[in-house]
């Protein structure tokens, strides 16, 4: 590297100039923007290395189990930097999402030491943690000998990092003082509205701001769409039907899945009057203006339909809209985003979130080396690299959200995305009660919703039956 370029980068690393000024300066020296970013990334890596003995586990190999996802793509694209920084080697297996969690369960339940770390959702740790399959990462985070001083744990968005920590007590608050840090987020999804600007503008539709308006707008949109439908939400017989838009709207009415009594016992909370009213509206929305084959819709169908212009909007993961607004999708460039508070009386949205995180296997034979990888992949440098260069959205760190280049990237192509995120991030967290029967109860909840939409059972009766069944299962499990 030439002296002038070195000088500019060192000045940036000392905080004496902004990233944009640096890139402009490098540009004037004939360095392309892409090369400038690479140089900057390398310089960041050097700076990290200067503060911490990254070479401590040089020569060690860690093996990862990854889900096929843009977050995994970002990780893989940046691996050479990690290898150069640490002298470690990283091997990985990537599986499609349909079978990914089966693979994780099989590997962990058999006590296999094949994988040192793996991608996980926060909900899954409510099974893996108490089962003794994953390690509490607090012991590493809090050990200055093992953790880079520039790791900046406090930089994680509070709602996101706390959602990955649980004390293992059924009903225990996420992120409580005695919570164990079962995983660390790579990135996360909020559930908000993604709508088709072209369809909305052509038909004079306004972006809905609460559940009643959502019903009306979805109905109006369906009426003007030739063969399409108004609003996409998930409907398959799976826990994944409950956690996106449905629970985000539900939580906005201050409704909960479970109550915790004074003795710490859990009971069903989904058959309150307010809950029944919300369920009725949700069911009506699907019946009037949802997908005709709603009961088989997973995130994939919900996303591809809005990307293909088959639906006017979706109430689902914001990053699903992000991906559908690009690539070869028919409606690429036409999608826009809006924060959504279902309750007209609510002051802000309260999106439930899905987190893709990294966890450490308790059966790993190289735990310290694995922690080196985990702190790197969840660290600020990789998060920024992923957010700027790849599709690591939504990044879990506040510093990345404050990064001008990242915000510019989003604002340029994704109308309303930054504003949506900023409006809903303060209320974003996991809204479920952490407990070991999570998947049983939410799958049954989804099956009950299917029956309600198919008019096999009235909403009131269906929710009472569900609550009775949930209580019976909780009691049977000693919860």
């Amino acid at each position: 590297m030439y002296d002038k370029e070195k000088g500019l980068i060192d000045a940036y690393m000392r905080g004496q100039m902004s990233r944009r000024s640096l890139i402009r300066g490098l540009g004037s020296l004939g360095v392309t923007a892409a090369t400038a970013e690479t140089l900057l990334n390398l310089a960041g890596t050097r700076a990290l290395a200067a503060e911490f003995d990254w070479k401590k586990h040089s020569g060690t190999t860690v093996k990862l189990l990854l889900n096929k996802h843009p977050y995994a793509d970002a990780l893989i694209a940046d691996l050479d930097n990690f290898k150069e920084l640490t002298g470690m080697d990283v091997q990985y297996d990537v599986f499609p999402e349909d079978v990914y969690f089966d693979k994780v369960t099989a590997a962990l339940s058999s006590g296999s030491s094949e994988y040192d770390a793996f991608m996980t959702g926060a909900y899954m740790t409510w099974t893996y943690g108490p089962a003794g399959w994953i390690d509490d990462l607090n012991e590493y985070i809090q050990d200055p000998a093992k953790t880079n001083p520039m790791y900046a744990f406090d930089d994680f968005l509070p709602g996101v990092i706390k959602s990955c920590a649980w004390n293992g007590q059924p009903g225990g608050a996420l992120g409580s003082d005695d919570a164990k840090q079962w995983c660390i987020p790579l990135a996360y999804e909020q559930n908000n509205l993604t709508y088709n600007k072209r369809i909305f503008e052509a038909n004079g539709l306004n972006v809905p701001t609460n559940i009643d308006e959502l019903l009306d707008t979805a109905k109006a949109a369906k009426a003007v769409m030739d063969g399409g439908y108004g609003v996409g939400v998930r409907g398959s017989r799976s826990w994944a039907t409950i956690h996106p838009g449905f629970l985000s709207g539900y939580a906005n009415f201050d409704q909960k899945d479970l109550n915790i009594d004074a003795d710490g016992k859990l009971t069903a909370a989904m058959n309150t009057d307010v809950s029944k009213e919300y369920h009725k509206k949700w069911v009506q929305m699907i019946q009037e203006s949802g997908a005709p084959d709603w009961s088989t819709h997973t995130w994939y169908q919900v996303g591809t339909d809005v990307g293909a212009g088959k639906s006017a909007m979706m109430f689902d993961a914001d990053i699903l809209g992000y991906f559908m607004n690009g690539g070869d999708n028919k409606e690429a460039g036409n999608l826009a985003f809006a924060a959504f508070a279902a309750n007209p009386a609510a002051t802000a949205p309260t999106p439930n979130i899905w987190i893709w995180a990294m966890a450490m296997s308790s059966f790993s034979q190289n735990k310290d080396a694995t922690w080196y990888f985990l702190q790197w992949v969840t660290g600020p440098e990789h998060d920024l690299f992923g957010a700027q260069k790849m599709d690591l959205v939504n990044p879990a760190r506040a510093s990345v959200w404050a990064d001008g280049a990242f915000r510019d990237k989003l604002s340029g192509k994704y109308s309303g995305y930054v504003e949506m995120h900023d409006a809903s991030a303060p209320g974003a967290s996991i809204k479920f009660t952490a407990q070991p029967l999570f998947f049983d109860l939410t799958t049954e909840w989804a099956a009950t919703l299917q029956k309600m939409v198919a008019k096999e059972v009235p909403v009131d009766e269906g929710l009472d039956q569900l609550a009775e069944s949930v209580n019976s299962q909780l009691q049977d499990a000693g919860l």
């Binding site: 003794g132 399409g228 398959s236 088989t296 029967l437 049983d440 499990a477």
Partner: protein, 307 residues
């Protein structure tokens, strides 16, 4: 030369005593049997335990409690009902269709041979892939079958996503995939039947329907039983078609044994209940197999006696 050879020690031959030989010969079968029985025994043990992976501290033997709980568990009875209905519908339809097609292709000709090979194509498709293909064909928005349904006045026919038609849809997919199996088995049976009774009936001018009911069908019964046995066992254990198309929904409409057991293990991590469900499925399969095999043996003896 001969002298030199006799001076050499004779090569030692590995001798096995007559008493040990039978054990040695049966050793591979024994090892295979152990290999099969270990997982089976493990499943039996799990089925007698209260065992959730998410609550390892609560793991204990509860002996028959998982089974007793089924008696008052409406989800279990629904699973049993759905599995039996699914197996019954698919096997009956596949037998009727398979037999009909086999009768049409019975006569050896180039065309019939070509058609019978073409009809085997669905059988070579992985059921999960076939399900995805059918999922696309029955998509209400762009599916070709939805389009055909609309042409005959079935607007908004929602196939697997409607509780009223979900069973019908998965049965159709199963029939599409597995009818060729029945067809090829019965076709082989038909072509192997002795020709004399048919020639005699033709000479006497016996009506075709009479020949079918009184000669073809009785002689074909062992083949029908074999085909039924295989299909009943597979149908009652169906997983991939149903899971790929509906995950057991809508509601609980298609929660057959394997789907319920899979969800119990991999999603709920309830190992005890999952294993108990599979043991019940094993018992049903075992009982059905016994019935079919006994009947098949009885028929064979009867036919030998007649011969």
């Amino acid at each position: 030369m001969t002298t030199a050879m006799t001076g050499q020690p004779r090569p030692r031959r590995f001798r096995v005593s007559r008493r040990v030989l039978p054990y040695l010969l049966s050793l591979p079968a024994l090892l295979t049997c152990i290999g099969i029985l270990i997982p089976f025994a493990t499943a039996v043990i799990y089925s007698l335990q209260r065992y959730r992976l998410s609550q390892p501290w609560a793991r204990k033997f509860n002996w028959g409690e998982n089974y007793l709980n089924f008696l008052s568990d409406s989800a279990f009875w629904n699973t049993l009902k759905v599995s039996v209905v699914y197996a019954g519908l698919t096997v009956v339809l596949e037998l009727l269709l398979g037999l009909g097609i086999a009768l049409l292709l019975q006569k050896r000709s180039r065309l019939n041979n070509f058609v019978s090979i073409m009809l085997l194509m669905p059988l070579m498709t992985a059921p999960a892939l076939a399900s995805l293909m059918w999922k696309l064909m029955t998509n209400p928005g762009f599916g070709i079958l939805s389009y055909f349904a609309s042409l005959i006045g079935l607007e908004n026919f929602n196939w697997a996503s409607d509780p009223q038609t979900a069973m019908l849809t998965v049965v159709i997919v199963d029939v599409w995939v597995y009818t060729p199996f029945i067809m090829i088995l019965l076709l082989a049976g038909l072509r192997s039947l002795p020709q004399q009774p048919f020639e005699a009936a033709a000479l006497d001018g016996v009506p075709r329907l009479f020949v079918f009911w009184r000669i073809t069908l009785p002689m074909l019964t062992p083949f029908l039983l074999t085909a039924t046995l295989f299909r009943v066992i597979e149908s009652i254990q169906q997983f991939d078609i149903i899971y790929a198309m509906t995950q057991g929904g809508p509601g609980d409409r298609l929660t057959v044994f394997q789907v319920e057991a899979y969800l119990n293990f991999f999603q709920s991590t309830n190992v005890g209940r999952s294993a108990a469900l599979l043991m019940i499925l094993w018992a049903i399969t075992y009982a059905l197999s016994n019935v079919f095999i006994k009947n098949w043996l009885r028929l064979r003896e009867k036919q030998r006696g007649e011969a």
